[in-house]
Amino acid sequence: MSQSPDVTPQNSTVNLAVEFAGIRLKNPVLTASGTFGYAQEFAPYLDLNRLGGLIVKTITRQPRSGNPAPRVAETPAGMLNAIGLQNVGVDAFIKDKLPYLRRLAPPLIVNVAGESVEDFRELTKRLSDEPGIAGIELNISCPNVAKGLDFSTDPKLTYQVVKAAREATHLPVIPKLSPNVTDIRAIAKAAEEGGASGISLINTLLGMAIDIRTRRPKIANITGGLSGPAIRPVAVRMVWQAAHAVKVPVLGMGGIVSGEDAAEFILAGATAVAVGTANFLDPTNVIQVIDGLERYCAAHEIWHIRELVGGFLIA
């Protein structure tokens, strides 16, 4: 459904490189946490080195088994999930996953979550000692675990978590914000004041679906996080609001499937974008986003992607 004239990326000379939160990316397209596994799952399908950056599945201090099934359900142009942060824990991550990830060319951003300010501080500190990590994304907005959402729906807690992580590392710290709030600008500002190097948004919208035959929730956790194209208009609005509220750069996500969608976020003010749910439709989707973005730029004679950032025109 691409609408741009057919310009092959190879023939064009669009410079897609950006710097986000002090991290140099050869293109502004990353993978969203929890939708790209630990990257290895995608290796049979695509050249991982083409990615702008990699954000991996949330890591916690202890291993987590995750939520019972069913964990995913489709909704119109979207999906609900409540995986429950299933992960191997930080020790096994460092031992078993990091060696593979650090050999890849794209900068690696490790996403962490905790139940307390202390957890975030510890995880951040622990990971900063490891080579091959370019930044830490703080998942303070997971709607699918008992403690999770709490932090990023409250500016004070947001500030505290970000500050603790900031003080624990020399790496860029990127809090990931929840869309389930009345005023995203207030949260974004609190994150900036806490010392965020950049902010990342949106995590999923809290949703629910009922199987009308069984009368049971379609997700065992009852509620789940809504993602995919359905939420894109909400995500674009919040990225635009947040980008105007803070000076640090924004990593935008929510429903990106094509290069055009990525361009929409960048016009709204995102410096870089992440592809989430679309990775499930087709493991090569993220490459299509990179190629599509490059084609869009070439067709509109944008020779450096920077020219596009915040390029939204208001009459």
Partner: protein, 272 residues
């Protein structure tokens, strides 16, 4: 890197109505794998629209040879995704990813091979029977169950393999009246020759009953399990199934990656 697993755009070659609810779909897929293990599956998706958004999992029933490989599946019209598939006519595009997952592994020296299927569990079992018939130095027993005769697929095909075929329907419209497990249990207790193995696919109740019965009789059993899936290749962690492992990380296995075929004794079986 190119191993036939890449997503590809197929074209509907044929769509046959087997009964009001069941369809037989053939999709020509350029460069699709010609080899697969029975029990492996594909994800099928519409490339035209974002609704339905995600792929749907279907067991590979057959891959027919020709200029282009034609992927064949048998499916039941259930909800949005299968209704969408059912409307496709010859020539229309379908996005295909696969073959995915792990299939059944039947030991070469097995003397008695018992296949059990209910409803939409038939396609991988039919694929398995077709393989086994090609070998032949074993006794093959097939048990098929359904609500009515319309749910009994591929009966002729199973007969053609030379298998001993037993059928049940809940309304008695075909075979004996009752549930297929009513016939499987007496057979397993009737003293078949060992080594023996049971291979089963079908609705959760059937899997549970066969898993319990084979465990009680200490007979090896491989089950093909279903789960809600978003991706089909290990990326979303959506398709969790509870394992018997006491290790936190291994509490859940992924149907798409660790299965869909599991040794029944590695999973926890309880009524939902």
């Amino acid at each position: 890197m190119h191993n036939g697993k890449h997503p590809a755009t197929g074209r509907v070659r044929f769509q046959r109505t087997l009964s009001p609810e069941y369809r037989h779909l053939g999709v020509a897929v350029p460069e699709f794998a010609r080899a697969f293990e029975p029990g492996q599956f594909v994800m099928l998706r519409s490339g035209r629209s974002l609704d339905p958004l995600l792929g749907r999992a279907f067991s590979i029933y057959r891959i027919s040879e020709g200029a282009e490989p034609v992927l064949e599946i048998l499916y039941k019209v259930m909800g949005k995704g299968t209704n969408y598939l059912a409307q496709l006519e010859s020539g229309e595009p379908v996005e295909v990813l696969g073959p995915l997952g792990n299939g059944f592994a039947v030991p070469a020296d097995e003397r008695t091979t018992v296949l059990v299927a209910g409803g939409i569990g038939v396609p991988p079992i039919a694929a398995l029977a077709a393989r086994l018939s090609a070998h032949g130095s074993r006794s093959l027993h097939v048990f098929l169950g359904g609500k009515t005769s319309a749910d009994i697929l591929c009966a002729k095909e199973f007969e053609a393999t030379g298998a001993a075929l037993s059928l049940t329907t809940e309304d008695g419209s075909l075979g004996s009246i009752g549930k297929i497990t009513d016939l499987v249990e007496p057979f397993l207790r009737s003293g078949p020759s060992y080594p023996i193995g049971v291979y089963v696919c079908g609705p959760p109740g059937l899997l549970l009953a066969v898993a319990w019965m084979t465990e009680a009789l200490d007979i090896p059993c491989q089950v093909s399990v279903e789960a809600s899936m978003a991706c089909g290749f290990g990326a979303c962690m959506g398709c969790a199934v509870q394992s018997r492992s006491t290790d936190t990380v291994a509490t859940y296995k992924l149907v798409c990656q660790d299965g869909p075929v599991f040794d029944s004794r590695t999973l926890i079986w309880k009524r939902s």
